[in-house]
Symmetry: C2
Subunit: 327 residues, 2 copies
Amino acid sequence: MATIKQVALEAGLSKSTVSRFIAQNGYVSDEARKKIEEAIKKLNFTPNLSAQSLKTKKNQLVGLLLPDISNPFFPMLAKGAEEFLKEKGYRVMLGNIGENHQSEHDYLKVLLQSNAAGIISTHDFKEEFPDLDIPSVIVDRVGHKSNYGVFSDNESGGRLAAKVIVEAGAKNVAVVSGPLNATNINNRFKASIAYLKEKKVDFKALYSQSYDFEEIQKEAREVLANKENFDSIIAPSDIHAMAYIHEIHRLDKKIPEEIQIIGYDDIQMSQFIYPALSTIHQSAYQMGLEAAQLIYKIATDQPIEKSKIELPVHYVARETIRQKGKE
Amino acid sequence: MATIKQVALEAGLSKSTVSRFIAQNGYVSDEARKKIEEAIKKLNFTPNLSAQSLKTKKNQLVGLLLPDISNPFFPMLAKGAEEFLKEKGYRVMLGNIGENHQSEHDYLKVLLQSNAAGIISTHDFKEEFPDLDIPSVIVDRVGHKSNYGVFSDNESGGRLAAKVIVEAGAKNVAVVSGPLNATNINNRFKASIAYLKEKKVDFKALYSQSYDFEEIQKEAREVLANKENFDSIIAPSDIHAMAYIHEIHRLDKKIPEEIQIIGYDDIQMSQFIYPALSTIHQSAYQMGLEAAQLIYKIATDQPIEKSKIELPVHYVARETIRQKGKE
DNA sequence: GTGAAAGCGCTAACAG
DNA sequence: CTGTTAGCGCTTTCAC
């Protein structure tokens, strides 16, 4: 790998001039510019990022800390972030955190050690490390401590899910909450319940502990075994909904005739399962994109109009909810 | 961020001693060791990775270059790689390359500029940049140029798919090939065709240009519109199979009674679609893991028994292939 | 066992 | 507009 020194030599100029040229700051004459360009091409020079970062204490690197990359919601989020960031010359470091605190901690450390430009995370680590000096935007699971956040309108989403199911004739609904440490989940959950209470529809609150399909499947089996005779289920995610659908199939019950179910997220899979899942759509891609934009603006000292960005949601009618007027 | 100098000062020792301590090489007395540990804890010191990398010309970083993170095969691969690498103290830089050559090129450059320890990629860039001096292992789409590769037994997989479908009574099969630039796809495809010829079963070769669902859907629509009356389809991936299934539904044909179809990959989604997809299983997670292990071994100068690792595949019977003896 | 010194490749005053 | 200089934080001979 060629160095700036060799380029300077080749071009018959000093390191500083070359440095000014590549950093695009300070004056460089057209003549010098030309010589440098030739030298760079000839030597196939490309600046050493470690040296650059060491000197400037900056790094065009952003950490992307996700709970589970195999959950289809997150690859889309990653894609949204990566596409924007790469366009701006930033790199993304992928961290699959799971529920593992150690792992998160390790990544935070590494990111700090690398002078990373920022962190996009689903977990608000600033609660645990409040004096961590690095820009961070929390996506999806935004709490109140976060300075910057991107999330969808969980309140509306939760209400909407309940509304859809009630209008389709729900009489006895199971409202299942996802793991409660996720604030967004909690908001949806509360909003659904509030709506149900308003409309005086019977319901029971259920609590799921996991996002792992196998785990949820077990929970679903137990829930459905307790003969509560739910005629409707509000699921906290499409993955949850699918696990329930799977178990409902095993019980030979008809969807949506005997049990109707609504998901949340609208992951790609939702349209391919049987019956196709009716769900509340939120855009993971958009979330990743907006989060990346925020980080970029912070890193480049651009003004930020909104530090908390709320994305709209909407209902996608498919086959797991009874159609109005079609009893 | 504290520096090694401050730690040295605090411990009453020299930078070199502290450096030897953190790098775990060279002698450090127990007494010094203790003082350093205290100082590090007190100052919350953690070495600057850029400085380290600049000096040592090494970086515990590996690039993961994928064609499309939203294709469910790749998140699992990423997970396998990330979990192993993080355990070993390495980081992964995620690059979503698409079919974009520029993007791949940019990432290769950045990885080089960062002294990355290696690259895991689905595309054998060494064909284009043969003198790129960085360890690389090609996953999934391994060609002949690659020094290191991890791939599944595509030959067997292709034959197996054809065998399954023939034994289920196929008379007129559409063998669809994925984009042909992917060697693995090509091998499967050829193996399927070879088997079909052996068994003297009528078939037609079809060529898909994409992995994007919408695109494939269009292709499928066209294929099915040309009334060739296929009774069986061998798909190059589960995603392709799903697109075909989707279109077959539109045509109100029964699966597997009128058309049977076999996929490839066994992504999670496959068990949830309707009908559940019969497919050839290969483990993306394992692929990522093995690739990461290879990189790690190369980076740490460990002996490598096998530079090309072939993973086994197997058939997963579900509902899109007719059961033997059940006509 | 430990420290002094040089230097990795780059940037940023500052002087010219 | 360009070059000199110092130094980012770390590692690594090489003396002591």
